[in-house]
Amino acid sequence: MIQLYNVCMSYQKEATALTEFSLKVPKGDFLYLTGPSGAGKSTLLKLLYGAVKPSRGQILINGMNVTRMRSWRIPMLRRKLGIVFQDFKLISTRTLFENVAFPLEMQGKKRYEISSKVYQALKHVGLQGKLNRFPLQLSGGEQQRAAIARALVTDPLILLADEPTGNLDDDVTCEIMELFKGANARGTTVLLATHNREIIRRYPRRIVSLDKGRLVDDHTP
C-alpha cells in the first residue's frame, strides 16, 4: 500500500528532516511512527499526503508515484487518505455536521448521500446527538472524535494520524484508539505518529522508530 525508497527530505540546506528512509507498509497494516520530537514523524506524514516533496527518493501510495505527481493530481491522492491532526483542525464557524461533510462536498457528492454518510460517520464516533454543535462547544475528546469522523467519512484507504492523542487525557485516548482499531479492522491502513509509549504498550502493533530523520528500528512486538 505504501512504499518509500531512500527518501531524503530537508527543509533547509543544513537541517535534514529525513535521510535515506525506506519503508514498506502492506495493505491493512497498523503501525506506529515513533521517536523524539524532531525525529521526522510529521515530515514523513506530510510527504505521504503530498504537502511537501522529497529532495530524493521515491514514494508510492496504492501504486501512485507521489514524488512525480503533478500538483493538480495531489487532491486525487488526498481523497484516498484520511488525515487526523493533534489540533483537530475543525472549522470553528461550522457545525459538526458541516465539518464532517467537507471532504464529501469537495468530492462533489450529492446532498442526500452527504447527509446519510455524515450521519453514519458521526454515529460511529458517538456524536450523532451533537450534529448542530460547533467545535468550541465540545470537549477535546469530542472534537478529536469529530475529526476522526471527518477522516473516515470517505472510507479512505489509508488513515494518517499525527499525534492524535497529544492533547487528550488517558480515558479519551483509549476511546480514540478504539476508533483507530475499528477503522483498521475494516481494512483501512493506519499510520499513527506518536511519542506516547503508554498507548504503544496498551495497543501493541508494528513500531517504526525514527531518530534524527533516520529509521532506527522496525519491529512488531
Binding site: Y49, G50, S71, W72, I74, P75, M76, R78, R79, I83, K89, I91, S92, T93, R94, F102, P103, E105, M106, Q107, G108, K110, R150, T154
Partner: protein
C-alpha cells in the same frame, strides 16, 4: 454541473451570512474606490465636452477675390464634401458675411453705416469631422485645397490649433495617468480587503486542501463572492455618485465650467454606467484572484 452550481451558491450564501462585517467592508471598499473613479470620470467627461465644443470653432475658410457663380460653388462643395476629413461645406456670400459682421459688432454696428455691403469677400467655410479637428487634419485639408487655384487663399489659425492640440493631448495624458492610478489604487485596496476576508477563513481553506478539494473547486465560491461584492459595490457607487452629482457636483462643476460656454454638466451615460458596474465586477474578481493565489496552495 448543476450540483456544483448549487453547492457554490449555497457556500456563497453561507459565507456572506457568516461574515457580514467582512463582506460589508469589501463591498464598502469597492463602492468608495469606484465612487472616486466615478467623480474623476464625470470631471473628465465634462472637460472633454468643453474641448469638443471648442473644437467646433476649428474650421478652414477659403476666400474668393471674385464671387464665383453658383454652379462652380456647387461643384466645389460636392468635391470637398467627398473628402474623408470634411463634414460639411457652407458658402458665405458677401452679403451674408456683412450681416454676420454687423451682428457681431452688436451695439457698435452703426460703425458700418455708409459702408457698402460688398467689402467683405465671399468664402467657403469648411467644417471638419470631429476626429480630424486637429493640426494634422486641418493641414491635410489645407494642402488639398491649395491644389485648387481658386481656393488657394485659405485661413486656418495654426497657433490656436497647436494650443488646442496641446490641451487635448494634456487632457488625454492626465486622464490615462490619473485614471490608471486610481484604478490601480482601487485594485490594491480591494485586493487587500478581500485578502483580510480570506485571512479570516484561512483555516477553512487549509482544510479544504487537506481533504482533497481541487484548487478550482476551493476558489470558485470565493471568486463568485468577490464578483458579487464587486457588483454590489458598483451599484452602491453608482447610486452614491448620482446622489452627490445631483446634490452638489452638478452645480459646483457648472460654476467652474460656465465661463467656457458649456451648455450643461453631463452625468455618466448608460454605457459608462454599465462600464462602472463591470469595473466593480472585475475589481472584485481580480482582487479575489490575487488574494487566493496566496491562500490556496496545495
Amino acid at each position: 454541473m448543476l450540483q456544483s452550481i448549487g453547492y457554490f451558491t449555497r457556500r456563497v450564501g453561507r459565507n456572506l451570512r457568516q461574515t457580514p462585517v467582512l463582506c460589508s467592508a469589501a463591498i464598502g471598499t469597492v463602492a468608495v474606490a469606484l465612487m472616486i473613479i466615478g467623480f474623476f470620470a464625470i470631471v473628465v467627461i465634462n472637460v472633454q465636452q468643453v474641448a469638443q465644443q471648442w473644437s467646433r470653432e476649428i474650421q478652414v475658410v477659403a476666400y474668393f477675390d471674385t464671387v464665383p457663380d453658383s454652379d462652380k460653388v456647387q461643384q466645389w462643395k460636392t468635391k470637398l464634401e467627398a473628402m474623408a476629413e470634411i463634414e460639411r461645406v457652407q458658402f458665405v456670400s458677401r452679403d451674408q458675411a456683412f450681416k454676420r459682421f454687423k451682428a457681431r459688432l452688436g451695439d457698435d454696428a452703426d460703425l458700418l453705416d455708409g459702408v457698402g455691403t460688398d467689402f467683405l469677400p465671399a468664402s467657403l467655410e469648411i467644417v471638419l469631422f470631429e476626429d480630424h479637428r486637429n493640426k494634422i487634419g486641418v493641414e491635410s485639408v489645407v494642402r488639398q485645397l491649395k491644389q485648387i487655384p481658386e481656393l488657394a487663399d485659405v485661413s486656418y489659425e495654426p497657433e490656436w490649433l497647436e494650443r488646442f492640440d496641446a490641451f487635448v493631448g494634456l487632457l488625454k495624458v492626465a486622464g490615462i495617468v490619473f485614471g490608471g492610478f486610481l484604478l490601480f489604487a482601487a485594485l490594491f485596496i480591494v485586493s487587500n480587503t478581500i485578502k483580510l476576508t480570506l485571512y479570516a477563513r484561512r483555516e477553512e481553506i487549509e482544510i479544504m486542501t487537506l481533504v482533497g478539494g481541487t484548487p478550482l473547486f476551493i476558489k470558485m465560491p470565493f471568486l463568485i463572492e468577490g464578483a458579487l461584492q464587486g457588483v454590489v459595490g458598483g451599484v452602491l457607487a453608482l447610486a452614491g455618485v448620482w446622489m452627490i452629482f445631483t446634490l452638489v457636483l452638478q452645480e459646483g462643476l457648472y460654476g467652474i465650467l460656465m465661463v467656457t460656454g458649456t451648455d450643461g454638466i453631463l452625468f455618466l451615460s448608460p454605457p459608462q454606467q454599465w462600464a462602472m458596474l463591470s469595473c466593480g465586477l472585475i475589481l472584485g474578481l481580480i482582487g479575489s484572484v490575487l488574494s487566493l493565489r496566496k491562500f490556496v496552495r496545495i
